[in-house]
């Protein structure tokens, strides 16, 4: 589950960056941040979060809602008061490399020890992504011996049946769809 800041909390965090106004925030802030030296328990992140799975079961439209309403905008707290320009810098610079000429030669960045997994690569259309995801599900089901059909990327009756068999085995609602829960149980990362 993504920890989403409410617009209000976001605003508070924002304000705390502005030296002059920081006084207004602490009361609210201290009320929420109780842990002193203890660390909050950390839940293991599931393989796929609901919002990762573009092709979740039709019923769970909750995940789609997030794209539909353009939450990208609301995330950035449109109601924020316009701060002076220097304050913006940390926010705007967090997006990837700037222009092509800037050189990320900073030695402080992730050393060779923990290279980041890459899932970038060529841009696939939604249709291609869906097909790839179905093919991966078919491969997983074949590996489990639940699917004997062709791996072709179409969610045909055979695949749905196999999915239902798998869902039954795992105690998931057998609807024959690539729900996020099913994908996680199969161990297949959603195609993004």
């Amino acid at each position: 589950m993504k920890q989403r800041k409410t617009p209000l909390a976001f605003l508070a965090a924002w304000l705390s960056l502005i030296p002059g106004k920081s006084v207004a925030v602490p009361a609210d802030y201290s009320a929420t941040s109780t842990p002193i030296d203890g660390l909050d328990p950390v839940q293991m992140r599931p393989l796929n979060r609901p919002s990762d799975n573009m092709f979740a079961a039709h019923r769970s439209h909750s995940s789609h809602a997030s794209h539909a309403s353009g939450s990208g905008g609301s995330y950035r707290a449109p109601a924020t008061p316009q701060p002076t320009s220097p304050q913006r810098a940390p926010d705007s610079s967090s997006s990837l490399y700037g222009s092509g000429t800037s050189q990320p030669t900073d030695p402080g960045r992730a050393s060779a020890v923990s290279p980041q997994p890459v899932q970038t690569a060529p841009k696939l259309s939604v249709g291609e992504k869906r097909k790839l995801q179905i093919m991966r599900v078919q491969i997983a089901l074949t590996s489990l011996g639940l699917y004997q059909g062709i791996v072709n990327g179409t969610l045909n009756d055979g695949t749905k049946e196999s999915l239902m068999m798998f869902q039954n085995l795992k105690g998931i609602e057998p609807n024959g769809l690539m729900s996020t829960e099913t994908m996680n149980a199969l161990g297949v990362p959603a195609v993004q």
């Binding site: 092509g100 000429t101 800037s102 050189q103 990320p104 030669t105 960045r109 992730a110 050393s111 060779a112 290279p115 980041q116 997994p117 890459v118 970038t120 690569a121 060529p122 790839l132 093919m135 991966r136 599900v137 078919q138 491969i139 997983a140 074949t142 590996s143 011996g145 699917y147 004997q148 059909g149 062709i150 791996v151 072709n152 199969l186 161990g187 297949v188 990362p189």
Partner: protein, 392 residues
């Protein structure tokens, strides 16, 4: 490049694959990737066979069991000696036994070899060029970029002379930029072909991903440089190439290999660089690798760096004064004056670096570049002598 001995069957010419586990196939699979799947039991092998029957044709069986290898109907690899690691990008080709590991995640230095052709014949070339058409190397490099599961911090592109690939080089660089946007790319080139403005434009226009260009320069006059690289006209072309790179905003490191004809004019060369090429970001002064043509041109290439310390110090000083950053590479600390130690780098890749017995008692060994593993077939940069006592 590593080669692991193995038996293979069922492969097309030069197949590039990624090593993986059966449990990871569903997550990693993509239509344009070849996955070499580790299999230890008959049951696992049957899963692969079933997948092949279902139309998944880009899976390869990897096993250490001769029995499984015999029975397998799909393309298969029987690993005989050193195990392959998960995430390895490997290549096989039908007529040869063995598996070439082209990329391994645990390595520190990653090199992409783009061609063995070259338009220069440097006196000290460590990798003597050949004339055969090896353009397949570019295609292979792109396939390696696709198959790499992680993005390393740095990838170095080398040859031969990579610019001989022409526009195809841009495809290779773009492929790495596309699949590995966080990776820093270094390209080793003599820059000569960039004197061709059409090629320069094709290669450099609208370059989004930063690349560090590593370019050698061996003289401040044409006859000096042309002699060292054994190619008439090379000096003018390289200078033009450097200016072209600068005009496209590309960062450049000059690389100067310290052989005798170069050491003789090194301070003047450094002056020349400071005055005329002030946009250079670094100047690397590098000990000669005693292999390849260097062995054949021993008269010119074998030097005792210790005897040239006056020139070396003067050169470093001029670079510093000129605002350029000197780097000393492939030079053991005992071969240079302590005042120069702060410029020294541990530049020899881990797999080709060694120390000798004398180094065991040296107090600065942990900061030292060490020696090229094959120095005993040639020479050492100086009489290696352990540094003792209390030095910082």
């Amino acid at each position: 490049m590593r080669t692991t001995s193995a038996d293979i069957k069922g492969f097309a010419y030069r197949t590039v694959m990624r090593v993986t586990e059966l449990s990871a196939v569903a997550g990693e699979w993509a239509p344009d990737l070849n996955l070499m799947v580790r299999v230890a039991s008959t049951a696992d092998m049957e899963v692969l066979a079933q997948l092949a029957k279902a139309g998944v044709t880009n899976l390869v069986l990897l096993t250490t069991e001769p029995g499984l290898f015999e029975k397998s109907d799909i393309p298969s690899v029987l690993a005989l000696a050193e195990p392959l690691h998960e995430g390895d990008v490997a290549e096989v080709t039908p007529s040869r036994t063995g598996v070439h590991v082209l990329f391994r995640e645990s390595d520190v230095h990653h090199t992409v070899f783009l061609t063995n052709q070259c338009n220069s014949r440097c006196l000290m070339c460590s990798q003597p060029p050949t004339r055969q058409d090896d353009s397949w190397l570019a295609d292979e490099a792109i396939r390696v970029a696709m198959h790499m599961r992680v993005s390393p911090r740095t990838v170095g592109f080398t040859g031969g002379e990579p610019l001989i690939l022409g526009k195809r080089l841009r495809d290779v660089l773009d492929a790495f930029a596309q699949y590995h946007p966080t990776t820093q790319m270094d390209l080793l080139t003599n820059g000569r072909l960039l004197a061709d403005s059409t090629l320069a434009h094709d290669l450099l226009h609208d370059m989004q991903h930063p690349i560090a260009w590593l370019v050698p320069l061996y003289g401040h006059a044409d006859f000096l440089h042309d002699f060292v690289v054994q190619a008439p006209g090379a000096f003018d072309q390289t200078i033009e190439g450097l200016l072209t790179l600068h005009s496209y905003g590309q960062p450049i490191q000059l690389r100067i290999v310290l052989i005798e004809p170069v050491l003789r004019i090194l301070p003047e060369l450094c002056d020349f660089i400071c005055r005329n090429l002030p946009f250079i970001s670094e100047v690397a002064l590098m000990g000669c690798e005693p292999i390849g043509f260097a062995l054949a041109n021993r008269d010119n290439c074998e030097v005792d760096i210790h005897e040239w310390n006056k020139e070396l110090q003067a050169s470093v000083q001029r670079l510093v004064r000129g605002g350029l950053r000197p780097l000393l590479m492939n030079l053991p600390l005992c071969s240079i004056q302590p005042e120069l130690w702060r410029f020294a780098n541990q530049s020899i890749s881990d797999w080709k670096r060694i120390f000798i017995a004398e180094c065991d008692s040296c107090v600065v060994k942990k900061n030292c570049s060490g020696l090229f593993a094959w120095h005993d077939k040639g020479w050492r940069p100086t009489n290696i002598k352990a540094i003792r006592g209390n030095v910082a």
